[in-house]
């Protein structure tokens, strides 16, 4: 019995010690005249790249705003959610404890759905940069999306393909363990088949980015597919392209916004991505001035080429900043008061033009209204079509 006691006593002592240690850290500094913006995303685990990008993009926007001697400052508070709904709610509650007034988050859909419901109950205004599932905003009047929703992307791609590639033999490879990917695929399939067209081959994979794709690619090849729709992130996509090339299979690929970033992938042979079409609101290679400025600043601050998530988050912070300014709320107000004022502004005549779209408007459901752009990769650059 004493031995058992010992074990537990030791274990708990060590844990308590670690927690005490943890308790000693930081604490946020606040100058009293800043809007506290919470950011939630995966900073560890397999989806860490998206959370990092969102955190950095948001921080960059806040730094720019604060350097311009504004009426009020923007303070970014970022928390990790490991791409998990439970941890995301914890992160959200942590941010509430720290006095968050507006939420820019979450980064990914499943956590976003869980946090959206909490934010709705607590009346905290939320604008998500990239949680594109419809469930994130469903029934939540105070949760808004800056990105296209997944179903809208599916519809947009089907429409574009039907118009520009009516004779293409289309196949799909999607990630069936991923919310985002299966969301786009479902809607693409129903729209595409609604047009009386056929999907020649559908194959899936689950989450594992560096899996063997030869079976899926063989199935595409045997079905005579010449246009492969990839509603997936760029990491597995790069793997698919590399393996297809080794099999002498060279179809046209069509990607969605998750495909952006493939050219910035360290070590990737960009020749393989020649001719890839993608539907994306932002590319790090576009020529316009705001994008160029953003890309330069980002590269300087973080040493990486920004992916679309960073641009989304950057836009989110600016949109929140502009809308807050317009709403007439004060940084001393509590989150609930700010929330009502922001809802009014967002569903009113507020528009925002930024990196990921011009004249973005929001409807009462929380969806954004902006025009999708289709780009093609040529000579290692995105060219708008």
């Amino acid at each position: 019995m004493r031995k058992k006691w010992m074990k537990v006593a030791l274990a708990s002592a060590s844990c308590v010690m670690a927690m005490a240690l943890a308790g000693c850290g930081g604490g946020t500094t606040s100058d009293g005249n800043s809007l506290k913006v919470g950011v939630i995303g995966p900073l560890t685990g397999p989806a860490a790249i998206y959370g990092e990008a969102v955190k950095n993009g948001a921080q960059l926007a806040a730094d720019e705003i604060n350097a311009s001697e504004p009426k009020f400052n923007v303070e970014i508070m970022a928390q990790d959610d490991e791409h998990d709904a439970e941890k995301s709610v914890n992160a959200y509650n942590k941010l509430r404890d720290e006095g968050m007034q507006v939420l820019v988050g979450t980064t990914t859909t499943a956590p976003g759905t869980a946090v959206g419901a909490e934010a709705y109950k607590d009346r905290v205004f939320a604008l998500t940069p990239s949680a594109s599932g419809p469930a994130v905003i469903e029934g939540n009047d105070n949760v808004f999306q800056l990105c296209f929703s997944d179903p809208n992307q599916g519809v947009a791609v089907a429409d574009y393909m039907a118009k520009n590639y009516p004779d293409a033999k289309v196949g799909v490879i999607y990630n069936n363990a991923d919310n985002y990917s299966s969301g786009i695929y479902d809607k693409f399939k129903s729209t595409w088949e609604g047009k009386g067209k056929q999907i020649y081959a559908t194959e899936a994979f689950s989450d594992d980015a560096n899996a063997d794709f030869t079976a899926q690619l063989n199935s595409m090849k045997n079905a005579g597919v010449d246009m492969v729709f990839l509603p997936i992130y760029y990491t597995p996509a790069s793997n698919i392209m590399t393996q297809a090339n080794k099999m002498d299979y060279k179809p046209t690929y069509f990607g969605v916004d998750g495909m952006d970033g493939i050219l910035a992938l360290e070590g990737f042979d960009t020749d393989l991505a020649e001719g890839v079409l993608l539907l994306t609101p932002f590319t790090a290679y576009s020529e316009d001035e705001t994008s160029q400025k953003f890309v330069k600043a980002y590269e300087k601050a973080y040493g990486d080429t920004p992916i679309q998530f960073a641009a989304d988050a950057y836009d989110c912070v600016y949109a929140v900043y502009n809308a807050f300014d317009k709403s007439g709320a004060s940084v001393e107000d509590d989150a609930a008061t700010i929330c009502e004022a922001m809802i009014k502004t967002f569903t009113g005549d507020f528009t925002y033009s930024g990196l990921t779209g011009q004249n973005m408007k929001w409807n009462k459901a929380g969806e954004v209204d902006k025009t999708p752009k289709v780009c093609v990769i040529q000579d290692g650059k995105y060219i708008e079509k």
Binding site: E52, N210, D212, T235, L265, E266
Partner: protein, 294 residues
Amino acid sequence: MNMINSLISGLSLGSVYSIIALGYTMVYGISKMLNFAHGDIIMVGSYISFCLTTYVGMPGWAALIGAVAVCTVLGIVIERLAYRPLRGTGSLSVLITAIGVSYFLQNMALLVWGANPRVFKSLFKGLEPIRLAEGQIIITAESFFTIIVCVVIMVGLTLFVHKSKAGKAMRAVSEDNGAAQLMGINVNQSISLTFAIGSGLAAVAGVLMCSAYPVLMPTTGAMPGIKAFTAAVLGGIGSIPGAMVGGLILGTIEIFSRAYISTELSDAIVFACLVIVLLVKPTGLFGKKISEKV
């Protein structure tokens, strides 16, 4: 033709599983522990090799040797610091520590190399694939060499374990730790050696795997690690030929179920096959039948 192509990719994937499974099985054989951090050593090996080729500019083969060296040392250090203090305290406590080590390696990699995935440059870049039957059957250089390397490792390891003195010592320790010690075998040294070999092989597997499936992330080793562990059990954990055969079977089943049954359920099918095999042969294909003494 498709059948043959699938078989080739299955064998190639299976070879990678085999090499990883060898590490699992050897460590299990000698210290009766499930080393769940083994998958993450693969990831470290791949990252080291990636860094040596990309930032130092080493040729692929030299980077491979570098990765093997680093992982060998890493394996020994992990065993010394994390596992040895718990030797003889039951396999569960070491299992949990191994999981701790796995978290540690993944998060360390995240801090050192960042969350951005890297695309691994193939060790066999520039080598043309072998085309047979008028180009209908394609054997990529990666598949070809992976299978060859796997066979070479298998033969080498079997010879080492059966013919060399150190190998015999390892077998003696895994047979009966106490008796081996009494016969003057340095048990600590034997266990360290096992970890060293297992981790070195993991580095080789990592480089081969990333040559064929080039994405490299801090979590790259997790899934292959679990699959290889499954392969080791399928073959009979503790048995070297078992790990080899288990890996090849598992890889082939995986590719075939993807090609002919369902891509969505391929993992479920792989694991279901494992369950069925274990129901028929409860100690795996090559496992020893354990006779219990009262």
